[in-house]
Symmetry: C2
Subunit: 206 residues, 2 copies
């Protein structure tokens, strides 16, 4: 069942979910597939095809129930189960991600930040503590952390990845432009920002 | 010719490029496809297939010339032509992206930042001016800006997008979690961070 959902569909379902949250905030109860298609500039048939794979979407003649469709997407994407993460690197990007509201609504809970800068250690961002990187191993096991969001300067990325390798962390979400060496037992997701932009510009620019 | 390159290949070529930059920095002249495959935890045959589509890669019995392969990827991805961008929203994320070294090596030049906070306007980040958002239209046309990188709080995202719509900007790279309404004449790329993470976790988590 899980294997059947492609990357493209997951990407689109996440965007549908953002739109649904917007509708919910505006107290709109029903959404139609053409409305979603219009906002994302894609075909209505594509949206309907994606949503047809889901269960309990609250579909009726006039559209989908925002509440039901939201819950259905969350179930499909596995959002309902919270995953604990820490941000490593309390610079601008680390701070920005600590404040990124959207993570919690997708089941990603950022527990704390880590840094090696004594001026930052002991302070807080968005109510989250900034700890010394030397305490990482201990905190990871006591707080049941699975994911490290890596936002250190790229020159330190590999060194810090090696520190992460000593802990129980299972996933590194790498926001640095440095491609990390594979680490046994850890899955690495390279957040390839330039790749995303280039895929886009390649399609639309001349 | 351009249409033939898929999103997945563009994504991988960008990562190969990051690895090549790393090799160049370490003064290593030759790279083999198994070395690239190992770093990205993908099949060697995949790397070879991707690189076989490129021209002038400096391929020999022992591997690829780092310099030639870098240039070949840059040509294929259209990196050689610089695109001018501005960052709108000089908060943590805007500042982080202003400092993101990698943009320049991919032909993306960030000219300036814009904000509506009087405390920020007039100061600089990484040598780049922070201007008043009310000056956007004028600066966009005088500096030949094509891309707006949108990093304002999501509650202001649509309002700011409407301001961008009044300028000559052709592309919005939207880092807010808000899906923007379509704007005639402007291409919108939603940087779907949660979608990227979910695609990843869906594959590897149980």
């Amino acid at each position: 069942m899980k294997q059947k959902i492609s990357d493209k569909i997951i990407g689109r379902l996440t965007l549908y979910h953002s739109i649904l949250e917007d509708y919910a905030q505006k107290d709109i109860d029903i959404i139609s597939s053409p409305q979603i298609a219009f906002l994302l500039n894609i075909d209505d048939s594509q949206v309907r095809k994606d949503l047809n794979c889901l269960k309990n979407t609250g579909k009726s003649r006039v559209g989908y129930l925002v509440k039901d469709l939201t819950r259905s997407i969350e179930k499909t994407l596995g959002i309902s189960k919270t995953k604990n993460a820490v941000i490593i690197g309390a610079g601008n990007l680390g701070k920005a991600l600590a404040k990124y509201d959207n993570f919690e609504s997708y089941g990603l809970h950022v527990e704390a930040l880590f840094d090696n800068d004594k001026k930052k250690i002991g302070s807080k961002i968005e109510g989250k503590n900034i700890y010394n990187i030397s305490d990482l191993k201990e905190r990871v096991s006591s707080d049941n952390i699975e994911i490290a969001i890596l936002t250190v300067p790229w020159v330190s990325a590999q060194e810090v990845a090696n520190i992460i390798a000593q802990t129980d962390i299972k996933y590194i979400w790498n926001f640095t432009p440095k491609v990390l060496k594979p680490i046994e037992g850890i899955h690495i997701l390279n957040e390839n920002l330039m790749g995303n932009l280039l895929q886009f510009t390649h399609k639309v620019m001349d």
